[in-house]
């Protein structure tokens, strides 16, 4: 007859011991179960599917399955001019479309070799865009993470704050979500009047929100119980798997593209890079909170220093001429038609440009055979790389920890599947 199953205590803290215990248990408790988590599960933040092999409550094997949101962005890019592809970058990391816009055009500008010609004002506005996007993305990341671990209040308050950011973005770009703000060689429009004042009002208010979030989470025993020493990524693992962004820094690696390879004008600002010590979910949370505070610092410096002047490169072959001129002058009209139909004439060559997006290093690799369209455009999506660690990280954890780990990794499937 069958064996009578016995109850055994399982030490849930230590990953290695868990694994050993799970192996022993196999004989006693019979077969393992395969559990499908996602693709439409609220804790998977979109359409991530996890195939979990479970032994009781303990995961023995995890396979992330991605691609449910694949739209073929990279292929689409091959068939259009550089500017035309810009709206598609909104839809990569859709929680920080402004940052995607900026980093994409920076990559194209690197290919065209006009990085140094960009006007000061343009660079400042782009920096503001990037940092605002970072604050907004982290607010959502933290809110969703807190909600996944059972703290619903945080989510509501961070969303109220995000709403203000969307008001600002709407006034700046004309759309709340699909910003399409930057253009190769400049921006689509200048800052609206009084926008910087609104921004500084927002910065005052968002500080209060950070404090509230910390009040609610940082010393909350339930939150600590669910995050501390859960999902530990060691320094070596983080580097081996090519993690980037807050997930890498949570493991104690001090690497921020803004500091390591300063692009735009980041070398002018005074800000710190927060790093974690253990690499568990709690550290990743704490790094994000601190990072937002640093972003606010950068934004304040931008507001103080922003100069006047033009926002576009002064070159009719790269930026569309002003409409008044197009309507009155022949030369500008020709430029307009040439630029729209042919695109910027890029040199033959290949470049890679990586920049610090809220989720990690967002990179664009462009291979050009000359002309206005890329021959190949590869997007290095940080979320995709960050998710690759799941099959290493999850085994040994309980199913409830998966939710906390996924929340702390803060990924976006739009970017992962692109």
């Amino acid at each position: 007859m069958s064996k009578v199953s016995t109850t055994q205590d399982i030490e849930i803290r230590d990953t290695a011991a868990n694994m050993a215990a799970a192996d022993e248990l196999t004989d006693v408790q019979g077969e393992k179960m395969v559990l499908n988590m996602g693709p439409s599960h609220p804790a998977t933040h979109g359409v991530l599917r996890l195939r979990l092999e479970m032994d009781g409550e303990i995961i023995t094997k995890a396979e992330p399955d991605v691609g449910y949101l694949h739209r073929g962005d990279e292929k689409i890019a091959e068939n259009m001019t550089y500017n035309q592809f810009l709206p598609y970058t909104d839809r990569l990391d859709y929680l920080a479309p402004l940052a995607n816009n900026v980093h994409y055009v920076l990559a194209v500008e690197k290919l065209l070799g006009i990085t140094d010609d960009l006007p000061e004002r343009c660079q400042y506005i782009r920096t503001i865009c990037c940092e605002l996007a970072r604050v907004s993305a982290h607010l959502l990341g933290l809110g969703a993470f807190a909600m996944d671990t059972g703290a619903f209040t945080v989510f509501l308050h961070t969303f109220t704050e995000r709403e203000k950011i969307y008001c600002l973005i709407e006034a700046l770009t004309g759309a709340r979500f699909t910003t399409s703000y930057t253009r190769v060689g400049g921006l689509s429009r200048d800052l609206p009047e009084g926008w910087l004042d609104e921004l500084s009002k927002f910065l005052d208010e968002v500080k209060i929100n950070f404090d509230e979030t910390e009040t609610l989470l940082t010393r909350n025993p339930i939150f600590l119980e669910r995050t501390q020493d859960v999902g530990i990524i060691t320094r070596e693992e983080a580097i081996d798997f090519g993690l980037s962004g807050p997930n890498l820094r949570g493991s104690g690696v001090e690497h921020d593209v803004r500091k390591a390879q300063p692009y735009m004008i980041y070398d002018r600002f005074d800000f710190d890079v927060p790093v974690g010590t253990t690499g568990d979910c709690y550290d990743r949370y704490a790094v994000r909170i601190l990072e937002m505070r640093e972003s606010v610092k950068i934004l304040r410096q931008c507001i103080a220093d922003i100069p006047g002047g033009p926002i576009n490169v002064d070159d009719g072959k790269i930026v569309l001429p002003p409409t008044e001129k197009v309507m009155t002058n022949m030369e500008e009209l020709i430029h307009q038609f040439m630029l729209v139909t042919q695109g910027q004439d890029a040199p033959v060559g290949e470049i890679y440009f990586g920049a610090e997006n809220p989720k990690g290093e967002l990179g664009f690799y462009i291979h050009s055979l000359g002309g206005g369209t890329p021959h190949r455009l590869k997007i290095r999506a940080p979320s995709f790389v960050n998710l690759s660690i799941l099959s290493q990280l999850l085994p040994g954890h309980m199913i409830a920890d998966v939710v906390a780990i996924l929340g702390s990794l803060d990924f976006v499937m739009g970017e992962c599947d692109r």
Partner: protein, 218 residues
């Protein structure tokens, strides 16, 4: 410079959940009892009843200038279509939402003196359009623009059925030239490009286009 995050160690008192509960209530109550609205875009939110939410559709969202709504065609002060069927917007549109049928050789000429062409048919598929604003940006005639469709033409009784981008089937969402022109309305032509061009040409005694349309109208 790197800053290390703080690891917290809870005291026994804190581990009893009481301070955490108290903190939670504190934050919630402070929000519950305060009616102070955000200072960000205060002006815009001053008529809203609630602090953070909007009771739509009784209360309406104030759309900022420069908002990118649906793209519509424009007529000038003489009620003539401004579009000259150059097809630049059709070319640039990233999702290919615009379809223009040019008039062809024997087609109708433009209503405006001097301007050569006018589209025979102009369709925008509002289901494909992503409201990126590229068409407005590239148009050399200022003939197409992104309306602030969110509230323009709002009619309380109709609950904006008339102007919001809604439809019950796909065909309804493909807007043709008449519909686009009707919704786009009239924009004053500030540059008067073609008037100027014709005047210049006349001064030089060469006519860019034979003025067929005028004859037809006579």
């Amino acid at each position: 410079m790197a800053i290390k995050v703080q690891r917290v160690k809870l005291s026994l008192w804190e581990r009893l959940f009481i301070p955490a509960l108290w903190n939670g209530f504190k934050v919630t109550l402070s929000h519950f009892l305060s009616f102070k609205k955000s200072k960000v875009y205060e002006e815009k939110n001053k008529n809203n009843k609630f602090k953070a939410t909007l009771s739509y559709p009784e209360e309406l969202w104030t759309v900022p200038p420069g908002f990118r709504g649906a793209p519509y065609l424009v007529s000038d002060q003489d009620a003539a279509t401004k579009c000259v069927s150059c097809q630049l917007c059709e070319f640039v549109c990233p999702p290919k939402a615009i379809r223009i049928t040019p008039p062809g050789e024997a087609g109708e000429t433009a209503h405006r003196e001097g301007a050569e062409k006018m589209p025979k048919e102009f369709e925008i598929d509002m289901l494909r359009c992503i409201f990126c604003g590229y068409c407005e940006e590239v148009c050399p005639e200022e003939a197409i623009y992104l309306a602030k469709d969110y509230y323009e033409g709002y009619d309380k009784n109709m609950m904006r059925r008339d102007y919001a981008l809604t439809g019950s089937n796909r065909e309804e969402m493909i807007f043709d030239k008449d519909k686009l022109l009707e919704r786009g309305g009239t924009h004053h032509d500030r540059i008067k490009k073609w008037e100027k061009k014709t005047a210049d040409a006349k001064a030089q005694e060469m006519f860019p286009v034979e003025d067929k349309s005028k004859k037809e109208r006579e």
